[in-house]
């Protein structure tokens, strides 16, 4: 078990929803020797089983916001998110931020850093295997570069530029 985990989330069959998995597969080629990689279409509580015991976790996921253009990239630090920004209870499952709060409550060994790099997508619903919409496909290389910069920073803290530099 390495100290860093990359968790790619999404459903490979659902068009843009696969972007986190696609990015993971690409990044894995370069970092497999030093970092653990897990792909999952799960969410919330199920993800807890994967991240417990790691020091740092990078989550690659898609996100769909009404007021954001497809292809834009967001970086979110879940552990420092303000509570009003995540749902306390959903009709079926609980979300990851809330799951982490539970883990902290139970004093589980959760990572000190959990960063999400999310790519705003256009269509995470349509059954189109391995087919991204054009704007999302166009942003994919930059998305991978940002995620790689975060990992480089974690592996060699003083060396590469931060992902925030790349986003600005």
């Amino acid at each position: 078990m390495n100290k860093i985990l990359v968790l790619g989330l999404g459903n490979e069959l659902l068009s843009d929803d696969a972007v986190g998995i696609i990015a993971l597969k690409e990044i894995k080629k370069k970092y497999e020797h030093a970092i653990d990689f897990i792909e999952s279409s799960e969410s919330g509580l199920s993800l807890l089983d994967y991240i417990v015991g790691y020091k740092k976790v990078l989550i690659l996921d898609s996100i769909l916001r009404e007021n954001e253009s497809p292809g834009t990239i967001e970086e979110i630090d879940i552990l420092t998110m303000e509570e009003q920004h995540y749902s306390p209870h959903s009709p079926h499952y609980i979300g990851l931020p809330y799951t982490l709060k539970l883990a902290q409550y139970l004093q589980l060994d959760i990572p000190s850093v959990i960063k999400v790099i999310a790519l705003n997508v256009e269509d995470p619903y349509t059954l189109r295997e391995h087919t991204l919409t054009p704007k999302v496909a166009e942003s994919l290389p930059f998305y991978i570069a940002i995620a790689s910069a975060v990992l480089d920073g974690w592996l060699c803290p003083t060396d590469p530029p931060s992902s925030n530099d790349m986003l600005s």
Binding site: E42, L45, I76, S87, P91, Y93, L102, A118, P124, T126
Partner: protein
Amino acid sequence: MAKRITIDPITRLEGHGKIEIFLDDKGNVENAYLQVPELRGFEQFCIGRPAEELARITPRICGVCPTAHHMASTKALDDLFKVDPPPAAKKIRELFYNIFMLEDHTLHFYFLGGPDFVVGPTAPAAERNILGVLAKVGLEIGGKVIKMRRECRELMTMMAGKVIHPVFGLPGGVSKGVKKEDAEKIQTVAKAGVEFAQFSLKVFEDIVLKNKDYLKLIVGDIYMNKTYSMGMVDNNNHVNYYDGLVRVVDTNGKEFVKFKPRDYAKVVAEHVEPWSYIKFLYLKEVGWKGFVDGQESGVYRVAPMARLNAADGMSTPLAQAEYEKLFKTLGGKPVQLTLATHWARLIEALNAAEVMLKLSQDPEITSDKFRTIPTATPEEGIGIVEAPRGTLFHHYKTDKNGMITDCNLIVATQNNSAVMNMGIQKAAKALIKDGNVNEGILNLIELTYRAYDPCHACGTHSLPGNYPIEVNIYDATKTLVKTIKK
């Protein structure tokens, strides 16, 4: 002034449900609907693919109950390739499936349905969650829940390769046997599972059944619908999640029909409404009479309470004692109280743990004869299992090369779609008066469908910024006059 209320979880993955409530001029409920986009044409997606791939493709319908789809698909492939798995393979599959049932039911009680009762149905949303549950039952219980789930998931990974998308079910058996040391690990978890399920039933009794207000809610008319009940049973008419015949009892508890998976299309039919993506299942012989209760209406339901109604008992002693207690407490069979589903779910969790223990101690479970190689030309196959949420049907047809030409999937939520609509309408009419709607009332309405644990993976992937429930109130001119978010 007529108003329209929408309860719309804002989600982005694996379907979602939306409740729309229409008020009349006096502010009372005229009608209410639950709309569910569920499968997104997955059946069409399967056409043209090799049949044997479906056991790996269909679990990707969603991230909620892939194990149920994997197992229903695997059984459909047995039927399709006309191959009977060896006894050990059947036992291995059933063992695996009961681990899944224990894990899933435990999750629902503590994290999803339980907060409504353990914390309180009208408690503020910020408290009505697992942390609120732990505040009532004790912090150490949270650790036990997490541990039980993790251990079940580790066992499933050990047996089936992947916990989220299992890969071990093959036509004619399984890809991997169970080693003696693996069986011993399963026994250890099963014993803990039995104890934990018993503890959970005690929690339910102490916190829910001994609370007069909660009990009143459970047995009250608001959450009662008289329907037929469906569930799979073994040779003794005991509840079985993996295999058997499907039994339906009527509104009086009398057997209406017991059928083989092959005959499902003779028994159930699908009704379509223009306002929902989901189809509404009903009993063909009784007929579709609309969203109405009673013996003359073909509406039926599935899920734990319906399964207990459809069976004559449980297959294990501890669960059987709890089964008898439930029906004695709630006035005999059938129980038509939707909220009793939470109690039934815990009884099933106990049953699943006992079955786990029994099968893991069976000497045949470690047999190396766990696959029969199919040799027949595939044509048509049907597989049925009981998903945690209810009866799940997979039906495939192929050409002579085994490529899928037709695919029909009926998931538990579709079976329950009519009764969920009826329940929501009944609760809304009883609880919303003179246009007065607040968060507590909306949660009381949501209790109706939450009991069924419908397969909407709501709000899970959506990280920040989104609220899971939004209520919009419109006046007669369709102008938005009020929004409630929670």
